[in-house]
């Protein structure tokens, strides 16, 4: 009823090429961005400015997002892992190259940003993030080289080497951690144009802005000729070569772009979320989690990266909050901890059975149903 594109005509190529061709989607996206950029961090301030009843809804939202917990501990990691998942999705979902090195590329980004900030006087933090991404991209190209010769599971194993090698190198060579005896780095203060980003709201906005810009770039990349050549390589590389796509160029570009995204995600992880990182934090385990994010969210979908990251990051937190409260003292803490894993695993299997193509596909089906609603035939 409300979600119907009847009467929306496209009269120019620009309109035809929009990311969101349907007006309702554009409005929805604008509202979502308004919510994320304005309402989440500033509701309490707006509520204080507006009189009585007008300010009440703002105050209500402000109350939920007033604490550091709801502003920093929950949305920031979700956004950061969304970015890492977009990175892996570009490589695996669009270009078809299975990789288990995402966490290692995040580590490269985090340590590169730290070293650029430390060793280059007056380095602006955003430039350090970009350089961190570029460093990760360079490392990604090196570890992407085997993809020119091998495919599928064998390539996965080759990227596994990246995972182990990078973490080993960061631990082994003390220079990377500025000779700290424990190998741990501690992120410098984030200052942009004289403003110190130390409040939860500031960290949140910085992360959100970086993630939005990069997500938009990713969305446009996969819709462009680059994305189409990735998909051609994914679907059949021999055929892609025959129609004139340069395999080496395309595959390495996918590795570079993917690692760039993971690198920036790693830098954000160190600077806006954890504050202190160690190489062991970027273990194979984290790589697997990022892989699960795109499998559950939807392989080959930017939206899926966000949905998958939200699922993997938020669901265990939600379970950890609710299960002990539901059961109280009737079962032991060890059991509730294990139960969380059981329920989490169960839900993953449930969603994969219901929709093997991921949450993004579920969302698509929902939209199609909504178009017909309330008169489905």
């Amino acid at each position: 009823m409300i979600y119907r594109e009847a009467g929306q005509f496209k009269t120019s190529y620009a309109e035809d090429q929009r990311i969101f061709p349907i007006r309702q989607d554009r409005i929805g996206m604008a509202l979502l961005l308004f919510f994320a950029f304005v309402l989440v961090p500033f509701s309490a301030d707006i509520g204080a400015l507006l009189p009585g009843a007008l300010g009440a809804p703002f105050n209500a939202i402000g109350a939920v997002f007033s604490s550091q917990y709801t502003l920093q501990a929950i949305p920031i990691p979700t956004l950061i892992f969304s970015l890492a998942a977009i990175g892996l999705n570009i490589l695996t979902g669009y270009a078809g190259q299975l990789s288990l090195g995402s966490a290692a590329f995040m580590a490269v980004g985090a340590f590169a940003a730290y070293n650029f900030m430390l060793r280059v006087p007056g380095m602006p933090i955003l430039a350090a993030f970009v350089l961190a991404g570029l460093t990760a991209a360079a490392v990604g190209i090196i570890f992407g080289l085997p993809s020119l010769r091998i495919k599928g599971f064998y390539l996965t194993v080759a990227t596994l080497a990246a995972q182990f090698f990078i973490v080993w190198a960061l631990t082994k060579f003390d220079w990377f951690s500025n000779y700290s005896s424990s190998g741990v780095i501690s992120a410098q203060k984030v200052v942009i144009l004289g403003y110190v980003f130390d409040s939860p709201a500031a960290n949140y906005l910085l992360t959100l802005a970086v993630v939005c810009v990069l997500a938009l770039a990713a969305k446009n990349m996969v819709r462009s000729s680059i994305g189409r050549s990735w998909m051609a390589v994914r679907d059949m590389d021999v055929a892609a070569e025959v129609i004139g796509i340069r395999l080496m160029h395309t595959k390495l570009l996918a590795f570079a772009v993917s690692s760039f995204y993971c690198g920036v995600a790693g830098a954000l992880y160190a600077y806006t979320y954890l504050g202190t990182v160690e190489p062991e934090g970027f273990s194979l385990d984290l790589s697997f989690r990022i892989l699960f994010m795109i499998i559950i969210g939807g392989v080959g979908s930017i939206l899926g990266s966000f949905l998958g990251a939200a699922f993997i990051v938020l669901l265990p937190i939600f379970l950890d909050n609710t299960l002990p409260a539901l059961f109280g003292d009737s079962i032991s803490a060890t059991w509730t901890s294990n139960l969380q894993l059981i329920v989490f695993g169960g839900l993953i299997i449930f969603f994969l059975i219901v929709e093997p193509h991921g949450l993004a596909r579920l969302w698509q089906i929902l939209k199609e149903k909504l178009r017909l609603w309330p008169f489905p035939h």
Binding site: S67, Y69, A73, S182, L274, V277, G281, T334
Partner: protein, 446 residues
Amino acid sequence: MNRFTLKSGKAGLLGAALASVLFTTGALAQANEQFIPLLSFRVGPYAAGGTGVFGGMIDYMNLINARDGGVNGVKLAWEECETEYNNARGVECYERLKKKGATGGTVIQPLSTGITYSLIDKVAADKIPLVTIGYGRADASDGRVFPYVFPLITNYWSQNTVKIKFIGQKEGGMDKLKGKKIVNVYHDSAYGKETIPVLDAQAKQYGFTVTHIPVAHPGNEQQSQWLQVRQAQPDWVILRGWGVMNPTALKAAAKVGFPREKIIGVWWSGSEEDVIPAGAAAKGYTAATFVPSGTNFKVIQEVQKHVIAKGKGNMEDKSRIGSSYYNRGIVHGIITVEAIRKAQEKYGKKPLTGEQVRWGFENLDLDDKKLAALGAAEFMPSMKVSCNDHEGSGKARFQQWDGKEWKSVSGWIDADRALVRPMIEESAAKYAKEKNITPRDCAKEG
């Protein structure tokens, strides 16, 4: 259409119910309670450590509540949050729990070096003491730079000098160390590498040679490393292991015929869980500890009488009461409770804030008499914390595995603080410079 709305209605109800549960739990905290957030981990590869230590700590806090009615009438309250030993989850748990309770979270003990590092800046901003007993950042012992961090009893560097002293004792004097060969088999990680500079400095000081042999995580294959050990023919081996690496090392040592009596482990390599899987190969192996195993201590018997016997014990497996992890948890409990008690002397017998409890930790003084009164004589080393010294003790002792249980083979041995302290100050000063921290002047602290 009907089906669709019905379904979504159900889902909505369920969601609302869960959400209401989520948002009402915070209200349960009572007014006259001291709230202690527990960043515990009970699943995953380190679950043995997490369930033991947090089980012991909860049992001790239950003892204080049941037997004494709390600390001077202020009951202890706590809430657990599962970190899975994962840094990101640890930070999430910290943010979730830090504001709960009447006065907010008052002390954080993550039992994970990784989470500790992630929280160091955050606790200073939130004014909550971060207590890491026997692990964590060694240079945080310099309380002038790290006012909110307390690596109590022994840091890794101190403990390592204690090991060398113990070896010296066995050899019949520190001067006998000259010309001896020591091999350091370490877990190839930040944790494992941490003691290398200390060992090198001591090798120079006492004239022994030291060889460092890394074992890649997780360390379930050590054939080549132990062949290397055999080739080096060392007089002693220091085992700086972690998890599955420990029993594997002992088995590999048995295979190449290196005497287990000559292997000295760090306390992360010295629990029952580290030696039992190695079976007979572990017999004779010695490990450092700051709390002996066993139930033959008054404080453990009190816990058994007032908590376990009443069915309130936290341990699923009652046979683990008295194991090294469990006893460590009791020490965590004792130190936490005594710091709160100390802080109450200054700020009054009411729930205190993290900032006030921090003062309690900084002025904590547990001498042997006090420990005896707590039923913990010989159970933990005496300690005296100060503004300058956030370690407070540096002592450790050694116990040997006889195939069935840990047997104490030494008294408390002091760390070589003359060697460690300058290294700590140097490292802390470097951190202060990186972070633009002006160290406190301890003469002005009350």
